[in-house]
């Protein structure tokens, strides 16, 4: 039986990790995500499921602990917030290079530097454009509710093991700190060691028994081998784009204008859509649920239908670049967002839409008509 609870996003995520049958969590406290490790410690998961929870000496140690457990085929997770994720990037690059499954959670706060502890989406570039060194990508899930903070944990593990690749859950202080009703899934048993060895015997380091030795490494000093590794990674990412893209369209059917927003911004933008429709403006919302893969084709097609697109993000303009790439200059694309931990209000978003896009859009519409007359 599933269970209905009022929980913070961070707590729901932690509870979901236990219920998803995670084997281990390694983390280091940082606001606004410390509730994850606090909740896990309070839950005594070692007694509930045998899950290992350890407070590491640093984010660097934590991500390398994740690397260690992942190299043995265990389901392992870590979480942090922006400055901590910067520290983890080396380890994340290694996870990608060594082709290891792991779940990393970023409850984003404002930056750069020590920044602010208030919500932000300023880690979009870091999340989808590599972040760490080398040719790699992360499968990035962006939850927009406490329910999704819970649901995406198991989804993330599934994807991580499907592709043997690290998966990022990109949340933020708003989703992490807010409480909502959440339907918790049933407890799944942790995989037994014998089962794990049977299933991942072809790659995991569990002790050399009845087979040649397994080696986990991201090092290939022979360039041809390294290129082959990179190609293998690119093939995975292509498959992710073909099979595991996720997005949500809200009020898009009759939309004349489009807002693109993910995570907390998508929630606020949805209210802006409601306010706009109250005023008789037909606005739709495209919410990318995965930020990589990105709904490029959907945006390309919607650009034929709408007069302009506003990318709403809690940052100085990051995802807007991907929106522009997808739209390929078919219609004007603008960015709106607050930074420094300030959360934009639905009213602000509507105002930005009216000033940056609708005004713009009508001008363009006009021009088109004129040119058609000519």
């Amino acid at each position: 039986m599933s269970e209905l609870k009022l929980m913070k996003g961070n707590e729901a995520l932690a509870e979901a990790a236990i219920r998803a049958g995670a084997d281990a969590y390694f983390g280091y406290p940082i606001t606004p995500q410390s509730e994850v490790i606090e909740y896990l410690m309070a839950q005594r998961p070692e007694k509930r499921t045998g899950m290992v929870v350890l407070q590491a000496e640093s984010e660097v140690a934590a991500i390398n602990m994740v690397y260690g457990a992942a190299s043995t085929g265990k389901r392992v997770m870590t979480s942090s917030s922006s400055p901590g994720i910067s520290l983890k990037l080396e380890g994340i690059s290694y996870l990608a290079g060594a082709e290891l499954p792991a779940v990393i959670v970023n409850v984003v706060r404002g930056g750069p530097g020590l920044g602010t502890i208030q919500p932000s989406q300023a880690d979009y570039f870091q999340s989808v454009k590599g972040g760490g060194h080398g040719d790699y990508k992360l499968y990035v899930l962006a939850p927009a509710s406490v329910q999704e903070m819970s649901d995406f944990v198991e989804d993330a593990f599934d994807i991580a093991f499907k592709y043997r690749a690290p998966v990022l859950i990109l949340s933020d202080g708003l989703i992490g700190q807010m409480m909502e009703k959440v339907n918790l899934k049933d407890q799944k048993p942790r995989m037994k060691d014998e089962e794990l060895i049977k299933r991942y015997n072809h790659w995991a380091v569990t002790g050399k028994k009845g087979r040649e030795r397994n080696i986990i490494t991201s090092l290939d000093l022979q360039s041809e081998k390294m290129e082959a590794r990179v190609r293998r990674l690119m093939k995975k990412y292509k498959q992710m784009e073909e099979e595991d893209l996720r997005f949500e369209k809200i009020n898009c059917d009759d939309a004349e204008y489009l807002i693109v927003a993910y995570g907390s911004s998508a929630r606020i933008a949805q209210k802006a859509v409601e306010l706009a429709r109250d005023k008789g403006i037909k606005v739709g919302l495209l919410r990318p649920i995965t930020l990589f893969p990105y709904p490029k084709q959907q945006l390309f097609e919607l650009a034929d239908q709408v007069k302009g697109i506003l990318s709403v993000e809690l940052n100085a303009g990051q995802m807007v670049e991907d929106v522009k790439l997808a739209v390929q200059h078919k219609v004007p694309v603008e960015h709106f967002g607050r930074t420094g931990g300030i959360i934009h209000t639905p009213e602000e978003i509507l105002e930005a839409l009216e000033q940056k896009i609708i005004k713009n859009g009508s001008i363009r519409h006009h021009k088109t008509r004129e040119s058609s007359i000519l």
Partner: protein, 197 residues
């Protein structure tokens, strides 16, 4: 949302005061009560250093529909527990909305005439009941009287859910506090001279 569908209810509330006045827990009880009557809820706190001794506020939304933004600029109801919050949030009540406040410590009373304003002596009544900590429940009672969005039974169930095990014995006291609040909330007329507090 209300405008989209008149048959469904959405109540957008800001609760604001000092840290330690039970602002966040009042919001939590409201949210849990909403769950008890099968509604969608969200509870979005201010967090960080400002919580430590400074001002605390929480946005609570209770709705029959999926909730869009958990973060708002304007509210149906503002529940105000100190002067800083009055200064900040009086203006954010939608025209026709409700502002309910504890006059304890308030030096500048609200002045808006396009909203309904209520007073509830949470602090004073709680002291009279012998437990200063239940002032937030008195205020919650006052709110539920003027905006009966949920049944008292559901609130008590919500209370049970949100109180840790060691405080469960305080449920009857909390129930009394809510009732006291319900019986003592008064309409405040802006034209009246502000009562001394």
């Amino acid at each position: 949302m209300e405008n989209l569908n008149n048959n469904t209810m959405t109540e957008e509330i800001i609760i604001a005061g000092f840290g330690g006045q039970g602002v966040l827990s009042m919001g939590k009880i409201l949210a849990y009560s909403g769950i008890m009557q099968d509604q969608e809820v969200s509870w979005m706190p201010s967090y960080g250093p400002e919580m430590r001794g400074g001002t605390a506020n929480v946005t609570v939304i209770i709705s029959d529909d999926r909730i869009s933004s958990p973060y708002l600029k304007v509210y149906d109801t503002a529940i105000i527990l100190n002067q800083q919050s009055m200064d900040k949030f009086e203006e954010t009540v939608k025209p026709g909305g409700i502002l309910i406040y504890d006059p304890n410590g308030i030096t500048h009373h609200p002045t808006r005439t396009d909203i309904k304003i209520y007073q509830i002596e949470g602090n004073k009544l709680a002291n009279e009941m012998g437990n200063r900590k239940i002032s937030n429940m008195v205020i919650l009672g006052g709110y539920l009287k003027v905006k009966p969005i949920m049944k008292l039974d559901n609130v008590i169930e919500g209370l049970k859910k949100s109180l840790p095990e060691r405080y469960q014995h305080l449920i009857p006291l909390n129930k009394d506090a809510i009732t006291t609040g319900m019986n003592n909330v008064t309409l405040f007329k802006v034209s009246e001279k502000a009562p001394l507090s």
